[in-house]
Structures are given as structure tokens and as C-alpha cells.
Symmetry: C2
Subunit: 355 residues, 2 copies
Amino acid sequence: MRTETLPVESEFFAPRAAIDDLLSSFLTERAQTSEVPGQSALVLLLRDFIDGGKRVRPLLCVAGWRAAGGEGDPAQAVRLAASIELAHACALVHDDIMDAADSRRGRPSVHRQLADRHPLPEMADRFGTSGAILVGDLALVWSDELLHTTLMPDAHRVAVLRVVDLARAELIAGQHLDLLTTGDLDVSMETALTVVRYKTAKYTIERPLQVGAALAGADQRVLDACSAYGVPLGEAFQLRDDVLGVFGDPDRMGKSHLDDLREGKCTSLVVRALRAAAPAQADRLRALIGDPGLDDPGAAEVRDILTSTGARADVERMIEERYRQALDVLDGAPFTHSAVRTLRAVAEAAVHRTA
Amino acid sequence: MRTETLPVESEFFAPRAAIDDLLSSFLTERAQTSEVPGQSALVLLLRDFIDGGKRVRPLLCVAGWRAAGGEGDPAQAVRLAASIELAHACALVHDDIMDAADSRRGRPSVHRQLADRHPLPEMADRFGTSGAILVGDLALVWSDELLHTTLMPDAHRVAVLRVVDLARAELIAGQHLDLLTTGDLDVSMETALTVVRYKTAKYTIERPLQVGAALAGADQRVLDACSAYGVPLGEAFQLRDDVLGVFGDPDRMGKSHLDDLREGKCTSLVVRALRAAAPAQADRLRALIGDPGLDDPGAAEVRDILTSTGARADVERMIEERYRQALDVLDGAPFTHSAVRTLRAVAEAAVHRTA
């Protein structure tokens, strides 16, 4: 979600500096006070990795707190938001190992950086993977520490922890299903959308909103509204990502079209196209998607098939449907007025973006 | 720690059945109610993996609770203990990936089991690693859920969470230092002992005792006594492991002597031997330790050098020193009488075992 469609001075982005400061000072202090040799280098790697994030989830956490009536000093919402970002860092670092991704946020991925530091080439890859597993674990453990040291009334804490624990397990279930289906182009649309729901919609939008709302003591109606808004919007957000991954401007996206296609990710776009394609077209799609040697002309051919089968238009319709659904929820949601305004802008930015 | 040196009906082992039942019913219920395709297979893998553990840490957690005066129904101590065991499962599953270990507890390791299930040989290893990263993450996330749903007074909760968060970060620091020094035979005794302290002494003995004690509302004196007993005992426990890894009976140990030696683990035994060895002996040790093709005659040669340099005797002395230190602490510890008796037997079992 880029900032250009929302004024950066808006309520939504306001907590960003406080979240960044907390993450940076927490990790810097840990690096400086580490008693175990080698530890501080690992911590600084994590700090630099986190430095590049867009903070979508933590900002939604603070937005959820405001939506549920959170007022005054947002310090505890910011602490909880920072906790969410650290858990997200774990997910990304581990995900990059799983995807064997060499880069993230325009820099080498954590396992790549660690591998590059090792003096012996024959041990470098394993060292990189091992170190990155530990960096991810450490991020999750410290996410917990921030969570556990967020001050909140007892009744609110039970609700906050319930959502946090659920969100993390849901993400893992989504990642696992993604893993099981990567390379398999015959998954159903239902399975493809289940991956989207668990890996993105719940994890990125619904749950962060709910965590923040729970901190403010939200009742069940408010939590349900977070879901009713967050799940369709999160699905639209990911479907937009799928479209941009193949049709977006690579310069604006900061990544090539080839990544997702070579990996053989079975997105909704691909599922739809395979169902609508003539046999010869379907054979071509199967040959091109997941081919590690796919080149630009091959990617152009994929785009042609995705367009001519109507898959692209179908997915655009799915995005629009979900976007409308999220906006409809906001109209009647038991959120504060200013939160409704902010979340409307968030929906617009999530769905109608170009990068 | 085997059961033969302690009567299984003792206070120490009494909670084992309740811990096992909770873990098994929690994971079985999760497998049965999973809504995401593929998830339940992953959960059952985790459940079966956990089934083989010795429960040293969770039993120490309940022992710590009793030592600090915990009385009556141990249900909450058992819940916290089960949480510790799930976090430990994460550590083991991730550790096996890092060590590229094919087996654990006499069965294929989790990443090996997952790899063996994959239909395509060329993708099997990566699939196994990825799935095992997720199994470990899931274990940690559910460890949190058990932790978060353990009922405890507010004041106790703050102390419990502080120890839990610290323990996890310490383990990661220890694992990372272990990773940095594996294959390097020139580490100092201080570094080798730092690995032992963080990876075993604190993690396996000191912190589980403290977590349980904190649940019972232990004051600082009790927590300090857990450290004063736990750290030297934990070091002795690991040093005993190092000795048994090379000199123990492979049949009783359930693993070959070759594993640790081939991996090039720089144990205290090796550090001591290298320091005391004549140049020719030291060269032989360097050639043999870390050699992936090491055979039984090679292992026998390593044993001869470890003995003739006096390293084995030195490490036995280090073990005895630490064992005495732990026992001395118990004599004046502010623990309940029956806990002192139990912890004395635990020390004996940890140090004077043959497997």
C-alpha cells in the first residue's frame, strides 16, 4: 500500500514514526546490551530488515484501537503495533527461506546476507538458512515480549491475546496451504481463495484491526465489524497484488514480473484462466507458469492468455465486489466517525493502487 | 535424564501423565477442528513428535512451582509446563533443520518425514525444510496460547512472562553461538562454556524452575536460588552429555558416537584436549573431528586422545565441581523440604547417568 493515495499526514499514518522509533530503539538497545558473543550482529540484521517495512499491519492495529474508541496517548497501541510488526518480520524471514528468495525490499534476504558473510562457500547456504531461522525465531520471541509488556486492563488482555494467538496460527495454516499448492495448477478457486483469506485477508487486515480494537475494549459487535470489513478488503488487496504481479509496472513494483510466474504460484488469476482457456492455451499456460527459465516474451504470452480468457477482467470484478462489500460494512459499522473516514481511504488505497 | 536413577513414582515424575494428556488432547483437538486443508496432517506430525520427549523441562517447571510453595491442584503449573514443552518442540524441530539431522528420538526428523511425503524428489528437501519451519513456528505459537491461557494472579503473570521471554531469547543466542562455533576447533573454553550455559544450563534447568516458581509467586530469593542451583547443574548435565556422546554406550544412548564427532561440535572435552595435546596429537584430533567420513576406528582414536591428554578426567572434575555446587545451594535454599529432596535426586540423575 503506497502512501500516494492517502495524504501522509492523515490519521492513519500518524503513528508510523512512533512505531518505527519503538522498534528501532528496542532492537538497538538489545544489540548494545547483548551478553552473548555474535548476538548483536544478528539483532542489527533484524533491525535493518525491519527498517524497510511499510507498516500496514501495525498501522491497522492503531486504526482498530481508534475505531473502537481508543483515545488520548496511543503509546500502548503503538507498543502492540510494534509487537505485530516483529511477528511479521518472523513470517517474512522464514517465508524467504521457504521461497528460496534472494531479495526482499530491494535488499538481499536475511538468509542470503548471512550466507554471504560465511567464509566457506560450501557451508554458506546452510549457515544462511540456519541463521535466518534463528533471526525469525528471535523476532517472534521479542514480538511476545512487546506484547507481554503492553499495559492493558485484564479483561482487554484476554481478548487481545486470543486474537494474537489465533492470527499467528491462521497465518501458518495459510502458508502451509500455499506451500502444498505451489506448483500445482489444478487447485480449485476455493483453495486459491482460502490461501488468500488465511495468508493475507485475515492476517494483514482483519486481525491487526481486531487486536487494536480489543486493546480499546471493543465489544463483539465491533470485533465482528472488523472482520466484515477486513476479510473482503484483505482478499481484494491480495487479488490486486496478484494482478499487479503480472500486469503492474515492474519499476513501480520494485520487482520483475517473472518472480511469481517462475515460482508457479497458483493465483486466482491463473485458476480462472485455466478454467476458461481452450486446451491449447491451457497447455501453454501450464508450460510457462512454474518454468524457472521463463523469459520476458514468455511472461508477455502469459499476460495475453490471462487477458484473452477473460481471467483478468473476472479478477478485477472480484476485487471490485469485495471493495464494495468492505465499504458497505463501513456505512453501518459501530466505529468512530473519524475511523470510518480513515478506513474508507485505506480501502481505496489497498485496492486502487498501481504498486 | 533416564528414569532408572529416580523412582518413577516420585514427586518429580508425578505430573508427567497430566502434562502428556494436556499436550495430546490439545493437539488432537486442534487437528480435528482445523478448517484449513492440509493443516491437520501438520498438527498430527507435531503431536507425534512431541510424544517422544522426556519432559525434563516441564517436569522442572512443576518442581519449581512446588519448590516455591505451590500447593493443591497443579493444573495451572501443568498447563505452563505443557507450554514450555511446545516451545521446546519448536527449538528441536528448527535445530534439526539447522543440523541437517535425519533422525530425532529414534524416528526420522520432522523435515525428513515431510520430505519423504513429497511426490517429487527434486522438490522434496525444500518442501521438508519449509514444512518443518512451519511446524516449529506453530509449536511456538501454540506454546504461547497455553501460556496465555494459564490462570495466574496478575503479579505472578508479570514475573512468569518475564522469565519465559528471557529464556527463549537466551536459547536463540546460545544456538546462534553454537552455529558460529561449529566446525571451529579453536574456540576458547570460555566460549564453549557460554554455549553450554545458554543452550542448556539456563534453558533446560534454571529457567523452567524459575517459570514454575514465578507461577507460585516466588520472591527474588527463591528465583535466585533457582539460578544458583540450576546453572551449575545444567552445565554439569551438558558436560555429562558431551562425555556420553563420545564415551557412552551407543545402545543405551540410542545414537552412534559418530554423530557429534562428524559434526565437528567443539565440546569442552575437545577444547581441553586440544590445549593439552602434543602437536602431533592435536593434528590428529583436528583431522578426525568434523570429518563427515569418520569411522569407528577413527572415533576410537579420538577417545584415546581425549583420555591420554587428561581431557576426560578434567571434564569429569568440572562435572563433579558443578554437581557439588548445586547440592550446596540446595542445603540453604528457601525451597520446601520435599522440593529440596526432589531436586537433590534430580541433580544426581542429571549428572551420574549412563545414557
